[in-house]
Symmetry: C2
Subunit: 233 residues, 2 copies
């Protein structure tokens, strides 16, 4: 009997936002896997630290962050092989994922490598999208409105084109792209409608109008824009 | 001392997907509020049923479903008044919300009516978006891809226009709009890339290619489309 791989969404950072099912699966797991980016401590492991059983075997998958694709692919290859060995030996593996495994998550690269050979269950998690909206006290999307989610890494003109006439827009991966995004919002007449959220649900959480945001944002930051004209809101 | 209103996301239906913080807040709440649509039992209350304390006071907000806006607005007005009375008397109120309170959630109408007078905390929940992606075993969004979320209630031409060149598209509120959406996907050459998901995380969950989906879908159904050409996926 081979084991099952669980891809477990842990939410945006507050351990309270871990789901009950995720908590149960982690507490029972003989093997725990997680990504660690660019030699830093694993953020995912930190969220779930109080749940990891004594004596569980841990598989840390070191992902080079700024590298070209080939080294990252090689890292996922190695991680998938190590997980496959545990599954083949009959152990279940809980793979810890910050946010949700399938929303811009690195788990999809393990899934792509293992789904044809092993049973995989994905446990959805609270996303940073709704966590940032909750922190800001504004709806993420409403009624018959369109929500568009865009990585802030894209060029400004492509972002303007892709925003099209979406009623609600969320920019992820803000980081050092903040000045570009602020200039774009100004150009589109949307600066007054843009909210900046940093490290949602963590102790250092910060919410402010985009016009007051710092020039250099941390990786875990987001911009929410509401163009919806619903008189209810 | 007035009480605090908690807008609590419960996730898409499986009680296991309630977060630990949501469970704690519901267990401690002296007053529990929830929407009930069109005279039916409250789906939100059903998800959290095992957590509601004995003796908690319950405020059911009856929302007429197919009505014009005015009767629904009046229902939210009445619900907000009842909640305000409890808060003014010093009681905390836990408002139960299916999915996430701020992603197409009705909680925003209570928030709009009460936020200027009372302390409100929104607890984000697992959304049906990531729950459906998890059930289907496909990423909801990846890498530098654009995710666009659209209500299936909009006219076909408007949907085609609003999809624009999004890499990932999710259609919510499918229900009786399924034939229209299937015809649209065929017209755009996307039928092979569209997955239908019904009642994700519930016992009756169903996942199939959109081409095999029934003509009449339940309210809790979704269509996921992946146009992304990332060679990793």
């Amino acid at each position: 009997m081979t084991g099952t791989l669980f891809g477990i969404g842990l939410g945006p950072g507050d351990p309270g936002l871990i789901t009950r099912r995720a908590a149960t699966l982690i507490r029972m797991a003989p093997v725990i896997a997680y990504p660690a980016f660019a030699g830093e401590e694993s953020f995912a492991r930190g969220i779930a630290a109080d749940l990891i059983p004594q004596g569980a075997r841990e598989i840390a998958i070191d992902i080079p962050m700024k590298a070209a694709r080939a080294p990252a692919q090689a890292a996922y290859d190695r991680g998938a092989t190590e997980i496959a060995n545990a599954l083949s030996a009959g152990d279940d593996v809980a793979c810890l994922c910050e946010g949700d495994p399938f929303l811009y998550g690195s788990f999809m690269y393990l899934h792509a490598r293992l789904a044809n050979r092993f049973r995989i269950e994905v446990v959805p998690g609270v996303t940073s999208l709704t966590a940032c909206a909750a922190a800001a006290g504004v709806p993420l999307a409403a009624r018959n409105g369109q929500l568009t989610v865009l990585p802030g890494t894209l060029p400004a003109d492509e972002l303007a084109n892709r925003m099209h006439d979406a009623d609600f827009v969320a920019f992820l991966k803000v980081g050092k792209n903040l000045p570009k995004l602020r200039t774009l919002m100004k150009r589109l007449g949307l600066l007054e409608r843009a909210i900046y959220v940093e490290r949602a649900t963590l102790a250092e959480e910060r919410v402010c109008p985009l016009s007051d945001a710092p020039d250099v944002a941390p990786y875990f930051s987001m911009i929410l824009v509401n163009r919806h004209r619903d008189p209810w809101l």
